[in-house]
Symmetry: C2
């Protein structure tokens, strides 16, 4: 037995090496789905098509967000739906299967991995206990499993639609997924159908249903079905009675060692799941499916090519970054159970609070047609359900953390002139968020605390997340102003451009901390600044704790969602005013004070690389005419925090948020989402070529760049001197070439014409 | 051919007569489902178990609310889900079947009825064109069809899950049901499965899915399936691709003329629908199913027995009234697709605005255990979805017309001491409505306009339905005060008992109309009374129209939902203050003025018998010490508006609202929902015996009552003189006997101790 493990391991390595050689030609081979899989990254490691609906992957216990955990953690099975990079309570983990050998008498078939091999579109593991090898590849809506059992071992399989991630003992625990129902039905000796219906999870969503259809390449010889703790020998179906169902199958131990399985899923019906298999995988060839998913990614990844001398590590980091950005949201067009489905439908915006800054802009840059579809899907959700999505997952709109950030995505599409979007509808959708309080569950959609925000111009302390919501809403107001202006709605523009200053209402000008003055601080409804903030409720006592700009975590007795700043402190959020950095500089005491403030922020570790609200902050030196300092910070941040290891992402990847931040900066670009330009920095890659729409090409190159020559001395745009440390999207979109001349010391380049502002 | 029609007609009449004779023993034979079927009543006429989930019935075109319309209107088929007595856009009409004879080549098999025979649990019709007889009976979740084809005719059947009621050319038309998806699958030569997924309808609800399983008693010989306008010969399944699907079946023309069909439905799955058939109808005996539904109703109807001499017409009106009251809400326990289903789950509260006054109290009186289940289902909806239901249908909470009327139902359960309800949770649920604006879609749940109501104490003109919402909310506040007081939450009681006076904020004391002074009238946010009210929006013009207390219909250019008073005028609503009639009497100028006001109201036809907000008004004479005038009014209203004809209900029955109003008054009782007493009036029935919980019996009898002797002279409760024209629920619930001594002229009885008040 031990010998056979080694043989499998060796052949796996051999296979690996073959691919390694090929990899030099094919970009998808630079993708390493394991980057960011361990530590805090939480990326999905299984095979997935771009924006793919089915996401098969191992589940290690019921708690991890992506399903996967590193060896030696046990595996309970392989389920078909997952998300990537998320925090909070897990979502999905539906329709689990698990191969095993032995009697059909227990539902738990947990095993341990002896090894694991992961590449784009492909997953492989061998179990320690039984030497069963599982290989997985996938199409858009149907997954393909190739199970290889040891010689003479009997071939058994579990299908468990009762399983899901994040089950908790307390059935209504906040953010915990909850079982609603499941069903399983043996259709023939090669087919099984059924579904899993689950509610809750991180976004506290309504029930969603994942239907499945399974086809085997050989007839089963025996089965037992399972419901609510009991096995049944002669019942080929277990109907939904609100109890967990499953089935165990035997395929005997005669004949070939391989069992091939196709699993189609659907959010409409089992027959649609079957149709998804028939349309996508009308054969039994594992390699064909694998080649197809590789090819889909190759088409997308090749929209950006890097110069030949780029290091393997940089290529891996970059293409894996692009890959992670395009795993979610998920294309569910034709799979919408809520309204007729001839419109684009996307789910798993998880969540826009994370992705609006860099993921959406990167998709816009690589594949603007896709971004148009995604935006139209968002507008359709608004039209049918009344509000734009924020943390939408499982076909349900909630949950909000701060702003109504779909506004930024819409404004970004508008300023980048994406065609095929009804921007009058987009404006209406944004105005709905800005004018109609979401009520009831204020965390679900729209702007919680809107009434107070409109009345006072800020959210008073006591309303959950008053600090960051005030900031985010003022940015969302700016987004509305942007679109209103572009559509010639002057009255609306005037109103919202004024509201865009609302962040200033929480700016406490005289407050000093760590050498800097002026911070976004808690204020009560009467306008009083609060040094001590209350927590909890009591008629007699008013317990308080001291609030300062460096407080990140509130005391344990304050709920995570009730704090003044969500997942951050005042130092971070007081630098997060993407639409009016010049005013922020002024309020901070001018250029020198602002430089000191930024230096303090980065040098004394107040900066949190893992947190999206600080994504733009390293670039803020641009607004005081020191873009080389931005480049220095970015290079340091990347070197210290990003690499090609399993722990190569410094925070939850959050549907590619971290990854897209990295990919942008490696090219020397960084978007200010909702605004029509990119900031320019020293790239990490000498030459990047973007394939844009209509055959347009835009090339960025850094001549003479080296570890020493890390500063931009001068630049040429299409052969003409270019002295701005930022570039309009339209200048990239129309194609051309941007050449940086690099030098060993900072220069005057980009220091005089500051980036655009409100 | 004509001859055979006559024969069928004769035998149907013969059958009828047989039942007629038997009817003198069995109460369910007094139920005539056709009462209220024509004109405005809109009751469901097909067979249904009490609170039954499946409601099979013919559909006459796609527009009628109950599906049915009188002959000679054509029938498109028989669908399995309907509602009873509703107005607005139709809901349901799912899983339609239609027998026919002929080629399997067209989806439209519309036919005309030659005759129709309807009784409790049974429906029968014969089609003119093809002499096919369709008989229907039903269990809780599975319907049974017996189709008899003419001799030698070929037996064909359509199953059409693409059909639904209320389809409109504009797919997103307000209140129009919208197609989402459907599926059909031939399982074997005797079984078909599939589903229909529809959204919208009157309550603008999210998508709901009705799954079905059909079993035939004989094998089909041929079939074609259908999708999106095309027929398919060799495809036994049509999966859901967002297009309408159906199938046509032939059972040949050999063998017997009868085709028996069982249709199980489920809101969970097709297998659950199949299980529903297996559990409920494990045989092929039509009569057994019919006997079972008759028996279920008999058990319930026999909770109230009437004295033997009661006229046939009165028996019909009374028992049909009870029957209509218990058709909805629908018991969907075990059929909830939204959360685990081991709790009671009811749907089709359609809507509580209509039913809280009389339907709920009647169920409480007849079958308090059922009411406890319904209340707990409402509380579960609050716990899982955040708000209590109002116009819930298709598993979605919306829509509100006025108050958050679930509060009245909860308060009614509380004051009537129903056991097995967590009233602390009930109070929380009511407080949610009273404190958290529903936001987004203000029509969906909770209290729309709450922010203004809390700020101003009334809804200013300009907010939809400002008048009736102000009144309803103040009553809901009284409901909260009631429960808070009972649970010893003194602070809450003090707050809400004060808010219960908010209706007074819209009382315009000096306003005179038709000889009466003081009306609920529109007021703006600054506190100014409005004689002219604006409509529409324009920057330059402010178009207005004159508002007076007699305006029922606003001008055509004002939307139906935007008016000041929903479905009524100020005359009606200014008399609809159920918690503080004494204050209303005072504000109206004292007892004489109030009497004149009531007289004007009834005598000049300002009273609208069809409208629920005036349900209590005929009893208001009680509060000025003239209960005999109440009795006079009630007797006149019933005689003029209610009878045993197809047009025997004067308004939309609204899930039994009209019917229960009648049934209560026939017994001499009328509840003031949310308060612990019934008003006493001259009954229409000489002796009514109520079978209550724990074997308790309460008997109401009117000695010497005749057309002449229509006034109560005196009363004895359990042998002791009883001089109040009202009785506490607890005095009925503990059992006993109330005897009225009748006389030909009004007496002093009941004139001194007025009914309880706030």
């Amino acid at each position: 037995m031990k010998l056979s493990i080694k043989i499998i391991t060796f052949s796996a390595i051999a296979l690996c090496c073959t691919h390694q050689i090929k990899a030099q030609k094919q970009l998808h081979n630079y993708v390493d789905p394991m980057i960011g899989s361990e530590g805090v990254g939480r990326v999905f490691i299984g095979p997935s098509c771009p924006y793919g609906m089915v996401k098969p992957s191992p589940d290690c216990t019921v708690s991890p967000n992506s399903g996967w955990l590193p060896l030696p953690k046990e595996v309970t099975g392989f389920s078909q739906v997952h998300v990537s990079g998320t925090g909070g309570g897990p979502k999905y983990g539906n329709i689990q299967i698990m191969p095993f050998s032995g009697a059909l008498d227990k539902i738990d078939q947990t095993s341990h991995r002896a090894e694991e091999n992961v590449k784009l579109g492909y997953y492989e593991t061998v179990f320690k206990e039984n030497q069963i090898k599982t290989e997985i590849t996938t199409a858009e809506k149907a997954a393909f499993y190739r199970i290889t059992y040891p010689k003479n071992a009997s071939k058994e399989l579990k299908i468990d639609p009762g399983f899901f991630l994040g089950e908790e003992a307390i059935p209504d625990g906040r953010e915990a997924q909850q079982f609603v129902g499941s069903q399983i039905e043996i259709v023939s000796d090669t087919e099984v159908r059924g579904y899993s219906r689950i509610r809750g999870g991180w976004n506290n969503g309504r029930a969603y249903t994942v239907y499945f259809w399974v086809v085997f390449d050989q007839p089963m010889t025996k089965y037992v079905t399972f419901k609510d703790g009991k096995f049944y020998n002669n019942q080929p179906a277990q109907f939904d009675s609100g109890k967990k169902t499953a089935a165990l199958f035997s395929f005997g131990n005669d004949g070939k060692q391989e069992l091939n399985i196709k699993i189609g899923i659907s959010f409409l019906s089992e027959l649609k799941a079957k149709n998804n298999i028939e349309v996508e995988i009308p054969h039994w060839n594992f390699s064909t499916v694998l080649a197809s998913v590789e090819n889909k990614w190759e088409q997308l990844l090749s929209r950006i090519t890097l110069s030949a001398e780029t290091s393997e590590d940089y290529k891996k980091m970059f293409y894996t970054g692009l890959y992670h950005t395009m795993i979610m949201p998920v294309d569910r067009t034709g799979e919408n159970p809520l309204w007729t489905n001839d419109e684009p439908y996307y789910d798993d915006f998880y969540c826009i609070w994370d992705t609006f800054r860099s993921s959406s802009p990167l998709i816009t840059l690589i594949d603007s047609k896709r971004q148009v579809e995604i935006v139209n899907a968002m507008l359709n959700i608004y039209k049918r359900e009344g509000y734009l999505p924020e943390g939408r997952s499982g076909n349900d709109n909630g949950r909000t953390q701060g702003g109504a950030n779909a506004s930024v995505v819409l404004a970004d599409a508008f300023v980048k002139n994406l065609k095929g979007i009804d921007y009058e509808v987009a404006l209406k959708a944004m105005l709905k968020d800005a004018t109609v309080p979401p009520g009831g569950n204020e965390e679900k959609e729209g702007r919680g605390g809107l009434t107070e925000y409109l009345k006072l111009g800020y959210l008073p302390y006591g309303i959950d997340r008053a600090g960051n919501r005030t900031i985010d809403y003022s940015y969302n107001d700016y987004n509305i102003a942007t679109v209103a202006k572009g559509l010639n709605h002057t009255d609306l523009y005037n109103q919202y451009i004024k509201q865009a200053d609302n962040w200033q209402n929480l700016w406490r000008p005289d407050y000093t901390n760590n050498g800097s003055t002026g911070f976004i601080m808690p204020k009560d409804a009467s306008g009083n600044w609060l040094d001590e903030v209350v927590f909890g409720e009591s008629k007699i006592q008013k317990p308080t704790f001291k609030y300062t700009p460096v407080i990140i975590e509130s005391p344990w007795y304050v709920c995570h969602w009730c704090v003044f700043f969500y997942e951050g402190n005042s130092w971070e959020y007081s630098l997060s005013i993407p639409h009016d950095v010049p005013e922020l500089v002024l309020k901070s005491g001018g250029e020198t004070a602002f430089k000191n403030r930024l230096d303090t922020f980065f040098d004394t570790k107040l900066y949190n690389v893992a947190n999206e609200p600080s994504f733009l902050t390293p670039c803020l030196y641009h607004w005081i005419g020191k873009p080389y300092l931005s480049s220095d910070r970015i290079r340091t941040i990347i070197k210290e925090n990003f690499n090609t290891s399993h722990e190569g992402l410094p925070g939850n990847d959050d549907s590619g948020a971290m990854s897209s931040w990295l990919a942008f900066h490696m090219m020397g670009l960084y978007p200010n989402a909702g605004q029509p330009y990119y900031l320019l920095n020293t790239p990490l890659i000498k030459e990047t070529t973007l394939q844009l729409n209509e055959g347009k090409i835009f090339k960025i190159s850094a001549k003479k760049m080296s570890d020493k020559n890390k500063y931009i001395k001068s630049a040429l745009l299409n052969g003409k001197p270019y002295n701005k440390a930022w570039i309009l999207h339209e200048d990239i979109a129309k194609g051309g070439e941007l050449i940086f001349e690099m030098d060993s010391k900072p220069s005057a380049w980009g220091t005089t014409i500051l980036p655009p502002t409100k």
